[in-house]
Amino acid sequence: MRADDEALILACIPSLRRYARGLTGDPQRADDLVQDTLERAWSRYSRWQRRGELRAWMFGIMHNHFIDGVRAANRRADQTVPGELPDAPVRATQTDRLEVRDLERSLQALPAEQREVLLLVCVEDLSYQETAQILDVPMGTVMSRLSRAREKLGALLQGRDAVNRLHRVK
């Protein structure tokens, strides 16, 4: 393996960790995911063979691990209901603490495939094309997941306001 490719893989790690944290909402599970991704990347490196961008390839590996984990969780009987997830520890300042916790919880309440698209596009700043490639879906699917993710996140974040408005109307 060439050293500059190794360096490229290492350079991906901070953004892989950020993505994993957004996907799982939990530092331990996020680094489990990063660890699995890196182990796979080092062992499968020879199969990459420079077909496309390395960063997209790494995120693709993480996607596969993440989805495997989601499927396994779905098979378990005691599945946590979305929206009732335990509070994840979140670093935040005192002032916007509540707001941040709302966002964290709302993000985790999105369906996994919507959360993936939202994070890849909004946080990792990947193009729709790259996102489609990473998730191995058509671009139209990326767009519709993005659209639904934004709508749902907006609704979840404004949930409290909506309740207040209803009360005022009645």
Partner: protein, 271 residues
């Protein structure tokens, strides 16, 4: 998923689609289409409000997750390929090194650096409460110095722009010392996430391909330290604090050589 409205291939002059609005919020439109969407939004306040919400979501998600970028990497992450699983691969590598040029030798040496660094990181964790940035400097060196294709973000051909940019991002005047006298030419620099905010990294190269990196951080401001020395695998680091900056000079060179250049850097950056 055959919703045509969501297909993001906008043509100029065609009606604005839902996909255009998303691509607008994500900064993924060509300039001409961007202007068309902007005009559309000015006339459609409801859509404008939606796009504003989406942008606000982007900002909030970054604020939530970007701090992860600044965290030190946990020790359990494998930072190099497993060394012994394919002995034939090491053999092939050494054949390649023997067959190709000096620059290939340099690349392979970088691979060793990364592996050694991983080994050292795994064993030497407890003793780095102080000078934590020196360890980050060594890692930055191990990551970027072997990079043949793109060792720096901004090259020396735009030195003025580089210094202006780094000064702006660091929030205090940053300078790249001239080390020509010491045998190292400035190659350029880049911005990195540090332990507490941005870090400037300058890279220098010698005629024989040897590289040194100067790591400049504000996180140690106020502390007073003399020259200190540490080593992470083959990467040696001299670090010190001067005024509002902490400096670390890293390289896979002898301690004497590194000290010689560090003193030159110190001399130039004083006052």
């Amino acid at each position: 998923m055959n919703d045509k409205r969501l297909h993001p291939v906008p043509g100029a002059g065609t009606p604005i689609t839902e996909a255009d609005l998303h691509a607008y919020a994500d900064g993924q439109l060509p300039a001409a289409r961007h202007a068309e969407v902007e005009a559309f939004l000015a006339a459609h306040p409801q859509d404008q409000a939606r796009v504003r919400d989406w942008k606000e979501q982007r900002r909030a998600l970054h604020a939530l997750l970007d701090p992860v970028l600044d965290e030190p990497l946990p020790l359990r992450l494998p930072l190099a390929p497993p060394a012994r699983r394919w002995p034939w691969r090491a053999l092939a590598a050494s054949v390649a090194v023997a067959a190709v040029s000096a620059s290939a030798a340099w690349i392979a040496r970088g691979a060793m650096d990364a592996r050694h660094l991983q080994a050292v990181l795994a064993t030497a964790a407890p003793e780095r409460a102080a000078g934590g940035y020196a360890q980050r400097a060594a890692i930055a060196h191990a990551v970027y110095a072997p990079d043949m294709g793109r060792p720096v973000e901004v090259g020396v051909d735009n030195e003025k722009g580089l210094v202006t940019w780094l000064t702006k991002r660091m929030g205090a005047p940053v300078r790249a010392p001239s080390l020509s006298q010491a045998g190292y030419e400035l190659m350029g620099g880049r911005l990195l996430p540090g332990g507490a905010g941005p870090v400037a990294l300058f890279m220098y190269g010698a005629a024989d391909g040897q590289r040194l990196t100067l790591y400049v951080t504000r996180e140690a401001a106020g502390e007073q330290t003399a020259f200190q020395f540490t080593q992470e695998g083959p990467v040696r680091v001299f670090y010190w604090v001067e005024g509002q900056f902490g400096y670390a000079l890293s390289g896979a060179v002898s301690r004497e050589e590194l000290q010689r250049v560090s003193q030159e850097v110190y001399k130039q950056l004083q006052g």
